[in-house]
């Protein structure tokens, strides 16, 4: 009886799966853009938790790994468009690092669909909402990142 009940619960959980998405954003562009989306009252998926950093250049790829370690289902990384960096070149450096990190994470079996990269400027509140909505539906389709959680639990 217990196992049946457990299965029912699991199904219920899966049906109600709401992805937990962590967004690492730069202070100058995307964070302001997200703020604009909020003040403009643009509706978007409530699944994203924003972590604000000075620059995409400050976003170590290990932040992404750490987010997955701590139970994230997906990650958004977003900052200023190339050429718009407040610190002139932080996003150019970041772009190279992310390009490599993405492929390495993919090689280790982290579905690259779980990590979304975007450039969102301070005036692109609309684009931010689209990034959030698309990332949420994309990660929802991939389902919970149970493989990583099982690592944490030492299961499997």
């Amino acid at each position: 009886m217990d196992s049946v009940a457990a299965t029912d619960t699991e199904q219920a959980v899966t049906a109600a799966f709401e992805p937990r998405i962590i967004a690492f954003v730069c202070n100058w562009c995307t964070y302001t853009g997200a703020d604009l989306a909020g003040t403009s009252r643009i509706q978007m998926a409530p699944n994203v938790r924003i972590i604000r950093l000075p620059c995409t250049g400050r976003i170590d790829p290990l932040f992404i790994v750490k987010a997955f370690e701590r139970g994230a289902d997906g990650v958004i990384v977003s900052g200023c468009h190339p050429g718009d960096c407040h610190y002139s070149s932080g996003n150019f450096h970041a772009r190279r690092r992310f390009a490599v990190a993405r492929e390495i994470m993919g090689f280790f079996g982290i579905d690259t669909g779980r990590v979304v990269f975007s450039w969102v400027s301070a005036s692109e509140g609309r684009k931010w909402s689209e990034v959030v909505n698309d990332a949420t539906s994309q990660v929802r389709a991939l389902g919970p990142f149970t493989a990583y959680r099982d690592l944490a639990a030492g299961k499997g």
């Binding site: 290990l62 790994v65 772009r95 490599v100 390495i104 993919g106 079996g109 690259t112 499997g156």
Partner: protein, 290 residues
Amino acid sequence: MRELIGLCQKLLRDGDVKVVIGYEEGPRGVRPAVITDPAGCERLVFDHRAVHNLVAYLSPRRGHLRDLGRAAVVVKGCDVAAFATLLRESQLEREGAVLVGVRCGGVYRSAAGSGPLDEKNVADRCGDCGLREPGTVDHLVGELPAAPPVSGRRAARIAEIENMSPAERFAYWREVLADCVRCNACRSACPLCVCERCLADKTDPRWVESSPHPRGNLSWHMARALHLAGRCVDCGDCERACPFGIPLTLINGKVGLVMRERFGFAPGEDPEVPAPIGTFDTDDSQEFIR
């Protein structure tokens, strides 16, 4: 061999160097040798078993060897690439060591290899080597041997892993890395792991769990790959040092592929060639960014 021995003896006698780091016969194939006495240079050998990257002994982390004084190091072309990386990163000074280059015909996978080099026993990195006759060394000895055979083994294995689904890849690495006891032999053996304080040792915040736990193991090996991106010269000493035979060179090989395909970068002996990470091009491809 006489040429190598004679040269090293002369370097020691003339006082150019205080110590020679080369290869000698050991219980299982050749092993690194640290020689301070000209007579000791008679022990030097160099052949297909000279797998180790002796530039590792020049790393600023190895202070006890540096304290011996200026060193002459026996190097293959691929080892010179590691030296160039350390120069590029201002970890060493060019005059800090005398490089005794040896023309190289490839090495075995293991220092205990024997017999003629073939596709089975040759190191994965030797196949398309363009550094068999290093040009930036202080002395160059030996005749250029025949080119080593090409092993397609690792490339095939990497392709196999790439063709798996993400879930299968995750499961694969999970299983492979389950053997890791986090002894950090890979880190210690690496000529390019030069940080005085490794992020894996940081506890505030704790970046990487230090116990041998699947989650920390995965993070550590990803961090290692990320930190060696554009730096790794593929010497394979990490994999040889691993007491559990974790196929670390698969990871390094993949990183190398990414560097070549995305940035056209391959490790070379010119420290002036900029590394791909830490530099950028405003036109870098960004097909993965929306």
